[in-house]
Symmetry: C2
Subunit: 487 residues, 2 copies
């Protein structure tokens, strides 16, 4: 573990005050140009010095012929250059006194023997000048809290709490809008590329120390420093959860990752063991990785694995019960006190066992207020999973039939959904137990938008919600094991 | 198997020409009123006769005091009435000569002993008059091809090819807009409720004979007639695939389904065996159920389990390879001919193994045209899985930087996406092999919308796509086994 975030070689790479930018031009289809555009469009507040052999001006910035001409020594150099000239440019950066570099260019170790020799050259040059670099063959870094994104896709959404280190750049950039859709975002996303100098372990240490990061996400095709990886993870897990997706385990995955970042993936069981020993929660898909991070970064830790399912529809309730069971969660029966408190709220068509199936409620607020409150007070309940039918269509239709005008309907439904979301957020705040929803609607549904806005995580299926709740339970157990072993 | 769809007791229930409607009023919050509204709003073309003890007029329709007063004998009666009066009303329907009934009302077998006695009464009355009925405790039926939906949620989307029989009404109604979002829809959705008279097996037979249904979806909490279920499924599978979701297997699922439809669910392994023997593909979540139906209803059957993955991003490609492997699919190496044909299209940063990782393409159409064509011609390929990055943001940004106006950008991107989607649809049509995509974007992404519009199924993750492709392979194998056993 590093003592201070500024001790990390990634600190100037993730939080630069000023940047020398190689490979951006005024040709709008080039990768480098797009990366500079991303930086500009997020409103980066530091200085940017494009280096260009011919242009005087690159995208509103005064350009320099050589890095050696720069008026000051920038914190960082970013290179999006043709492979063969990278070593020479790195050498010049060293001469200038630049200490931190991101090498986006590919064509190194992942491209075969010749590339491997070139990559070795980069390592030697950096060593000679005391430089640290990220890459090569990476897609860069995004730190929206610093208005900083040097990847080729524009950052969308809000600065979030998920800190990710990834051996695939796509799983940083191509998830921007996926996460934004869930009202989530990266605290920092780091594409580690070929890891010739700075590697996954460095990135984990940085993210552990990053104050904006609540949960560390890893996408792994191979682990290069096994011992350091395990020890670093073990030092992080007591303070922050780590979730990892490893895809190199299958035969096909192995071959794909070899051609992707030159990584030699190992057998799945070996990695399973490494993760267990490290206290890392394993996700089995990129979607699951973010589901787990979502809850781990936003819910209190449950004390046990008892879940209560609240529903007004039998099928979704039964599916949720089944999914919880398969995920290793328990649906415990209620105490007599809870049964008594629930009784007035459950119509004769409903069911007061667990799942609690309301079928319908008399007041539109009960489902968001009294009922979850009673369920969270149940001593046998460690967490609450609620089905949200989010029925915008028939609420509106009922109002329309009452002769209410379109404008008024929109106002009234807006207010209804707002009241409901606020009510449930207020309930959630009063209990140190996870409260999570699921729904089959898409994220454009106005009720889901309100719930998201009010910090109620709503997952897209009972199965996904159940597995993510189980990840919360796993984290508690893994953390305890790691801490006991340390004593 | 029934010889003619009209021999099914469900035929008049799914395709009525005129309907006696009990329980709708002018009170806009009542369930029955909402159900009548759904029927009206879909533009049902038959006659509707509300029966109401007091009202002269119910929602624009002339109301009748008693079913006995109706000017003719309707094909169907729909009842959304308080439990205690259902038997008497059913009796009157019998007296009138009505032969088909949907009983939406709950409070029967699922509510305990008293309800069980009441339910037995319904069975006796129906028997006495030669009536057939769906329910009780069901949510009704939707047949959008007939502009007919008597469930309490309005039908959204288009008439589709998925025929579903469900022991949960929610999984019919509450999936309307989920399916619409994917440009899918039900051919017919049947909520079977307590199955006191018409049951799941009847519904399977109806859907097997239904010309609009390409694939049969089942949501099962219990199977009441085991032998008939297996035999019916075996007779359907050679002609149409069946996908089932069973959630009663876990302890929690068992308890939930008991209070839901009074069903006594059996152990998971027993059901696993029943499905295998029946030739039914088992889904493990409602989302997976519809994924499987999507591909089974819209893709040709693959000859084997060899898949080719086409990508321009390493991580999504490696994940897809891994997911395919875990789903039991093979990523075979290419023949020399394919390697030769691909070479000109793959830049030096890319990879010509399987997955084919293009990293980028020179022309924006190649990825949708030449490349998938070459891959589908590969003799070792039974199906093609393509990653769609669908990069609306940076395509637009690049154009903007070129000084193109907002209007022109929208036109140009619209045309680009249109050309791409049309190109790939044209490729798909020429090969009797499944061509399926995956993407992490939501369904509002304009590129995904175009692809969907052009009948390219795009699933929301590589894992889901891989499992759905594996379901296509499973269907081929199950079908073959069933057919061999028949000889």
């Amino acid at each position: 573990m590093i003592r201070n975030i500024k001790d990390s070689p990634l600190y100037p790479i993730v939080n630069p005050r000023n940047i020398a930018f190689f490979g951006a031009s005024n040709r709008f289809t080039s990768m480098g140009t797009n990366q500079l555009s991303s930086l500009k469009s997020l409103g980066f507040e530091g200085e940017i010095y494009p280096i260009h052999p011919k242009e005087q001006q690159v995208q509103d910035f005064a350009a320099y012929k050589s890095v050696l001409d720069l008026p000051k020594i920038p914190d960082l150099a970013v290179m999006v250059l043709p492979t063969p000239i990278v070593p020479q440019v790195l050498e010049e950066c060293g001469q200038k006194g630049i200490k931190s570099v991101v090498i986006v260019s590919g064509g190194f170790k992942e491209a075969g023997q010749e590339g491997e020799i070139l990559e070795k050259k980069l390592v030697d040059i950096a060593h000679r000048y005391g430089m640290r670099f990220l890459g090569p063959n990476c897609i860069g870094v995004a730190n929206p809290h610093h208005k900083y994104n040097i990847t080729f896709l524009p950052f969308i959404g809000r600065p979030g709490f998920i800190g990710m280190a990834s051996q695939s750049g796509s799983f940083i950039t191509q998830m921007f809008d996926y996460l934004a859709d869930l009202n989530l975002g990266f605290s920092t996303g780091i594409s580690v590329g070929n890891e010739a100098n700075i590697d996954l372990v460095d990135a984990m240490q940085y993210l552990a120390a990053c104050p904006n990061t609540q949960v560390v996400a890893l996408y792994i095709e191979t682990i290069r420093r096994g011992r350091a990886f395990i020890e670093t993870a073990q030092s992080i897990v007591p303070h922050k959860p780590i979730v990892a997706l490893y895809v190199g385990g299958s035969e096909a995955g192995k071959r794909a990752s070899l051609s992707h970042t030159g990584a030699l993936a190992g057998p799945d069981k070996l990695y399973e063991g490494i993760f267990r020993q490290s206290g890392i929660i394993r996700a089995h898909s990129i979607i699951e990785l973010f589901d787990f991070c979502w809850l781990l970064g936003s819910c209190p830790g449950p004390e046990g694995n008892n879940v209560v399912v609240q529903t007004h529809s039998g099928g979704p309730g039964a599916s949720a019960a089944d999914a919880c069971d398969r995920a290793g969660l328990k649906l415990s029966p209620f105490s007599p006190e809870t049964l008594e408190k629930l009784a007035p709220f459950v119509p004769h068509t409903g069911s007061v066992s667990n799942p609690v199936d309301l079928t319908f409620t008399k007041s539109p607020l009960e489902y968001f207020d009294n009922i979850p409150k009673i369920l969270l007070e149940e001593p046998n309940a460690d967490m609450l999973l609620i089905y949200f039918m989010a029925p915008k269509e028939n609420v509106k239709r009922a109002m329309k039939s009452m002769g209410i005008s379109e404008n008024q309907i929109n106002e009234l439904t807006e207010k209804l959904f707002d009241d409901q979301a606020k009510a449930i957020e207020a309930v959630k705040k009063n209990y140190a137990k996870p409260l999570v929803g699921f729904s089959f609607h898409n994220r454009q549904n106005p009720m889901l938008q309100k719930l998201q806005h009010n910090n109620i995580p709503v997952l897209a299926s009972p199965d996904r919600a159940a597995r993510a709740l189980a990840a919360l339970v796993s984290y508690g157990r893994l953390r305890e094991t790691i801490m006991q072993n340390k004593i």
